[in-house]
Symmetry: D3
Subunit: 277 residues, 6 copies
C-alpha cells in the first residue's frame, strides 16, 4: 500500500531546452510541497513546450494545445510501467480529461490540481471560492468548475488582477517577483490583493474554503493561511500540488483509476442503451 511511484508532469515549459538541475529545484514552491511528497518515489517531467513564446497558458486555445501536447507524455509514462500514478501539475488542468482516459486504459490514476482541490475543498466545506489571477485564466477555471460538476459548490472565482507574462500585459501588475518579496518578508501587492479577495469571498460570496486557480499563485498558500488565521478567519486555504498528490495517494491505495463507465475504452465488454447526464 505504501508503494507510491508518481510521475509529476509540469503543465508546460518555455520554448528552448528544458531546465536542468535537480527535480526539487524545478518544482515550484518545493519547500512547501516537500512534506506532501514524503514517502513517494517521484520523477518530474518538464512538460510539453508551451503554445506561445512566453511560456504560459491562459487562453482557452493555449490550454487546449498544451493539453494535447501532454498526451504522449502521459501515454509513455503509463506504458513504461514505472509509475502507479500520474500527477498533472499546473492550475488549469490542461489535458486532464484525456489523460484520465489514457490512465484508465492502464489502470493508472491521473490527478490534476484544480480537480483535486475541488474534491478536497468539498470534503472540508460546502462552498469554495477559486482565488485566481486574471480574467483570461478565470475562464479556464470556470470551464473546469462546470466540467467537473462543482458549479453548485463554487461560491465564486475571485480575480486578483495579477498577470502572467504576455506582451499585452507589460504595464499590468505582474505575478513575477511577488513570491520573492513575500518570502523576504517585504510587502507584496499580490498577497494583499489575495487577502482582500479571500475576505470578500468569505463575507460576500459565502466561501468556506479557498482553492487557488493559477499555479503561479500557489506560493500564496502559506502566506494567506497565516494572514487569514491572524485576522480570525478559520478557513482552509488549499493549493493544487498537495491536493493532487494526496488524491493520487488515495486512488493508488484504493486501487481504482476511475469508473470504466465514465471513461470507457474502445470496445467495452458491455454497453448501455442510455447514458444519463
Amino acid at each position: 500500500m505504501a508503494d507510491y511511484r508518481f510521475l509529476l508532469i509540469q503543465a508546460l515549459r518555455p520554448p528552448g531546452p528544458p531546465a536542468s538541475g535537480p527535480k526539487e529545484a524545478q518544482l515550484m514552491n518545493h519547500a512547501d510541497v516537500a512534506p506532501f511528497l514524503d514517502g513517494i518515489a517521484w520523477d518530474l517531467h518538464p512538460g510539453p513546450v508551451a503554445a506561445n513564446d512566453f511560456g504560459t497558458a491562459e487562453t482557452r486555445a493555449e490550454f487546449a494545445e498544451v493539453g494535447v501536447r501532454r498526451q504522449p507524455i502521459v501515454r509513455e509514462a503509463c506504458a513504461s510501467g514505472k509509475y502507479n500514478a500520474i500527477v498533472l501539475l499546473g492550475g488549469g488542468d490542461p489535458g486532464f480529461i484525456e489523460a484520465r482516459e489514457i490512465g484508465q486504459s492502464y489502470g493508472i490514476p491521473v490527478t490534476a490540481c484544480a480537480h483535486a482541490q475541488m474534491h478536497v475543498a468539498s470534503m472540508l466545506a460546502d462552498r469554495f471560492t477559486v482565488l485566481d489571477v486574471a480574467e483570461l485564466h478565470n475562464m479556464r477555471m470556470r470551464d473546469a468548475v462546470v466540467q467537473y460538476g462543482f458549479a453548485d459548490r463554487c461560491a465564486s472565482i475571485r480575480n486578483m488582477h495579477f498577470h502572467l507574462p504576455r506582451p499585452e500585459n507589460g504595464d499590468l501588475p505582474a505575478i513575477a517577483g511577488e513570491a520573492d518579496k513575500a518570502a523576504r518578508g517585504e510587502p507584496s501587492a499580490m498577497l494583499e490583493a489575495g487577502v482582500r479577495a479571500v475576505e470578500a469571498a468569505i463575507e460576500e460570496d459565502g466561501a468556506e474554503a479557498i482553492i487557488i486557480g493559477c499555479s503561479a499563485a500557489y506560493w500564496l498558500q502559506p502566506h494567506l493561511q497565516r494572514r487569514l488565521s491572524a485576522s480570525g478567519w478559520q478557513i482552509p486555504i488549499l493549493e493544487g500540488y498537495r491536493c493532487a498528490i494526496l488524491q493520487a495517494k488515495l486512488l493508488v491505495d484504493l486501487g481504482f483509476a476511475a469508473s470504466g463507465l465514465a471513461f470507457p475504452q474502445p470496445r467495452p465488454a458491455r454497453w448501455r442503451r442510455r447514458k444519463l447526464v
Copy 2:
C-alpha cells in the same frame, strides 16, 4: 443583412491527401442540407488530419487532438477577411470553445453542430435526447451537454450501438453502408435501432425533441422524421448541419459573435473582481 459568407470546416479528414472534387460532393448528406445553404456563399475546408489512422474521433483524446488541429484553420479563416461566420462540422464539436475564442477576437461568430442543436432543441421543447452511435462517442456528447449548460434540458443520451471504423470494432455493427441501404429503400438495422431509441427516449426519458450526436448518423434525420411521424409521434428530429448553419445566420444578422465577458481576450479593457459560475 443577407450577406452570408461562411466557411464550413470538416471535423477531420483521414490521413493522406484531402479529397478532391466539388464541395457539394464532399459535404455529407448534401441533398438534405442544400436548402439550408441556400443564399449563402460558402466554402468547405476539409478539416485537419485525424488523430488516428482510421480517420475518426471518438475518444476524448482524439477529440482534443483534432480540436487543437482545427485552431490554425479557424485563425487563418478569420484573418483572411473572406468570411463572416465559421461553421464547424462534426458531431462532437472538437475545438469549439477555442474556436469561439478565436472568432471573438475577430468579431466573427463560430457555430458548431452539438451546441447549435442544443440551442435549437431548447427553443422547440423543454427536454431533448441525444441520439448517438456508441459508448465512446456518448461520453463526448455528455461532456458537451455539461460544458454548454444543458444538463437540465438533456433527457438522455441514447446509444444505438453502431460503430465508426476502429480496429477493435471489426465485428460490431457498423455505421458504414447503412445510409446507402436506407437511401435505396432497403432495411437498415441502424435506422431501426434509431427508431427504437427515439421511441424509448419519448416514452421512458421524457424527450420532446431529438438531436443527433455523431455526424455520421445525421443521415438518419429525414428517415427518422418520417418514421416517427408515421407512427404518430410529433417530435422534431434535428441534425447538426442545419442547426449550425441557421445559428450562424442568426448571429451574423445579430452582429455579435459572443459575449466579450464569456470569451475575454488578452488584456480586456475592463476586468471583474468576481466571476460567478
Copy 3:
C-alpha cells in the same frame, strides 16, 4: 428558404381607434429595427386594446388579459395563410404560450421578445441580466424567466425605476420623453440609470449579456451598447424586436414551429403514460 412573411403583432394599443399611418411609423424604434426586417415581407397588427385606460400592461392581471385578447388575432393570422411566422411584440410576451399552441396547430412558428432574447443571450453568454423598468413589470419578467426554464441563466432582474403611464405614478420618473432626449443628444436620466444598472449587473450579479425587459425601454439598446463599449465593457446588449425577428427567421428556415409533444393538440395520435417536468 428566403420567403419570410411575418405578421408583427403589437402587445396592445390604447383604447380608441388604432393608429393610422405607415407601419414603419407605428413600429417603435423603427430605424434601429429596420436592418433586421430587411428581406422580410411584414405586416403590423396594432394589437388588442389594453386592459386599462392608460394603454399599458404591467400587473399580472393586465398581462393575462392582453394575452387572451391576442388569441383571436393570432388565430386569424394563422388561418389566413398569409404568414409563415408570427412575431409577438412587447416586452413581457403576453399570450405567448397560448399563441405558440395556436401556431403549432398550423405549423406556424410564433416568437416573442422576452423568450427570444433569453435564447439569444444564452447563445452568447452563460448568464444574462434583464434590464427592466419598474417593480410591477419586473414580476412579469420573473414569471417569464421561470416559465421558460432560464432561472439558472438569469443573473438578476435590474430595476431602473422608470415608469409607464399609470395614475398612481404621476410623480415618479417617467419613461416618456427619455428616448427623445437621448436621441437629441441631451442627458437622459433613464439612460444613466440603465448604464448604472448594467454596470452593477456585470460587477455584482455576474451578468455577461443584457436583455431588456419592457419594450418601452428597447430604445436604450444602441445607447447602452455605445456607452458600455466606451467604458470598456464588452457585453452584448440585446433588445426584443431583433431577437424575436431573428428567431422567427431561424424557425421558418428550420421548418418546425415547436415540438408537438411540448405543445400537443387535441387528440394527439400518440400519447405518453408519463410526462417528466
Copy 4:
C-alpha cells in the same frame, strides 16, 4: 380566528344559464369535501363561462381565457367585503397568479387546487406525482409545476388517458360516468387506470405522495386511497378541494395573503434595485 368566510369559485361553467339548486349539489364530490368545509361559511360562485362550447378547459388557450374571465369575479368578491378568503376550484388553477395579485391588494388570500396540493404534498413527502387525465391537460399541470417552483419535487405527471368532453375525443375513453360506476361499486376502467398509474409512479418514478391534476378526477381520491392501502402502499392521495380549503384556513389564521414583494401593487412604497429569480 375561527371566522372563515370563503367564496369558492368554479373554474368555469358551460354556456347557458348557470346551474340552479343548492350549492352543495353544485359542488363536485360534495360528500367527500363536506368535512373539510365544516365550520366555514361558504358561498359558491358558478365561475365564468367556458371558452369553448363543451364547457371545459384543457388547451393552454382555454385555460388562459377562463383565467381572465375569473378576474372580475375575484375582484368583485374581494371588494364586497363578504369574504376573508377566495378558493379557486378546478384542477389547473386558471387565473390563479392574477387572482393572488388582486387578492393581495385587498389583503385577502386566494388559494387554488394545484398550488395547494403541491404545497401540502411537500409537507408530507419529498416527491409527488401528479395523477392526471390526458395529454392536453398534462401540459397545463406541467406549466403549473414549473411556475410554482416545484420541478424538483415533482416525480412525474402520470397520464391515465381518460378524457373530458371534446368533439375530437368522441371515441376515446371518457371520464364521464366513471365516478358513478365506482360509486355504485361497479368496475371503473378509469379507477383501474388510476391504480396502475399510481403504482407505476411509486415504483418507477419515486413518488411518495399523489396529487390529482384535473378536478374531474378528484372523485378518485377515496377510491385510490382505499385501493392503495389495501395493496400495502402507504401513500397519501390528495385532491385539490380539501387542500385549497385547508390552505385558505391556514392563511386566514396567519393573517397574510402573500408577500407584497412577490405580488407588488402599483406604486409600492419601496422598490428594489435588483430582483433575483
Copy 5:
C-alpha cells in the same frame, strides 16, 4: 374537524426542576401566540433537560442530544391517546425527523418551527431569508434548510450577532433583556440589528419573506413587522410558533401525518426496489 388536541413540547429546559405555574406563563411570547391557539386544547411539556448547564442548544452536538432526549416525550404523548398533534417548539427543530417517524407510527402529525416556517414562507413568496442570532445557531438552520429541501428557496441566513447564554459569550451582545426593552418601548440594539438584517436581506439577497431562526428571537416578529411596514417594505415576517401550530391544524384537518413512503415503519407491507433522492 375542529377537535384540536395538541401537545406543545419545549425544545429543552435548564437543569433543575421544571418551571411551575400556568402553561401560558411558560410559553414564550404567549400574548403574541395566543390568537393562534384559540380553539385548541393544548398542553405544554417543559421539554428535555438541556445538554449543557446553561440551558441552551446551539452546537450541532447540543442539538442532536436534545433531539434524542425528546424522543421518549414524543413517544409517550403519542401513546397516551390524548393528542391528535404534537408541536415541537424551539427554533432549530431538535429531534424533528425522528419525532415525525414516531408520530407516523401512530398516525399523529408532528410539526416543528423551522420546518413549518419554511413551508409557510414558500406559500407566500419565492425566496425567504432566515433571520438568526449567531454563528453557531446559523449552522443548525443551514442544516435544516438543506435537510428539508429548501436550499433553492433560501435567499440567505442573516446573522444578527446576538447571543444565547454561554460561558464564552460573556462579553458579547446578549439576547437576554432585549425583548423586555422593546416591550417597554425602549431602544433595543437587537431589534435594530434585526431591522438592518431584514433590509439587507431584501435589498441584497432577494428575500421576499422572513422566517426567524432561533426561538429566542421570535419576540421580534411584531416589532419587525411594524418597523418594516413603517419603512414601506411589504414583507411577511413569520415566526415559528404560529407556523407550527397552523401547520398542525392543517394536518389534523387533512388526516395525514406524513407519507408512509417517506417515513416507513418497520416491516412495511410493500417495499420499493429503488428509492430516488
Copy 6:
C-alpha cells in the same frame, strides 16, 4: 506525514458486555480491510450500546440515539491526544456531523463511511448508486445523501430487501449468514440480489459507481466486484471502511479537519453577517 494514529469507532454494539478478543476479530471483514489499515496504528472502540435490544440501528430514531451516544466516545478520544484521526464505522454515519464538530475543536479529522464513499465515488464517476439493504435503512441513506449535498450525483438507492435482525422481520430474508455462504462459495441469495440491483442501477439509473449503504452489506464488495467484472461491467464497487480510512489518511496528510466556517466553534474570532446555503 506517515504517522497515522486512528481510532475506529463501531457504530454500536448489542446490549451486554462488549466483545472481547483481538481487534482484528472484531472488525467486520477484516481480511478485506487489512490492506487499507497497513501502516496505520489503530485502535478499535466497540461503540455505544444500541438503542434497541437487537443491536442494530435502522429507524431514524435509532440512528439519532446511537449518534448521540457516540459523542462522549469521540470527545474522549480527541482529548486523549492519542489519535490524529477518528474513523466512524457503520453504514449510516450515526453522529457524524456532531463528531466532526467535536473533532474540529481539536483539529482532528473525523471520517465516516457513507460520507467518505460519496466523496470517493465522485472522484471516480459522475453518478453513483447506493446499494442498500432494506426500506428503513434506505431512508437514512437518503437523509445522508441530502445532508452531504450529493443529491445531484446520486443516481438511486437500490434496495436488496435483506434484513437486519428485528422482531418484525422474522420471516423476511435475513442478512445474517449470507456472507458465510458466499465465503464458502455457496450460492447467496443476497449476493444475487446485489448483482441484480447493481445491473439495474447501471442500465436503468445511470450509475457509474456503486457505494454500499448498510455496513452489514460491506462484505459484498469483493464478490460484487468480481461478478460485475466477469459480466463485463467496468464499475467500481466501493465500501465504507476503506473509503473512510483513506479519507482520514488524506485529511491527516493535508493537515485540516474541516473548514472552521462550516463547523464553527463557540465564540469564533470572526463572524459573518450572512450565511449562504
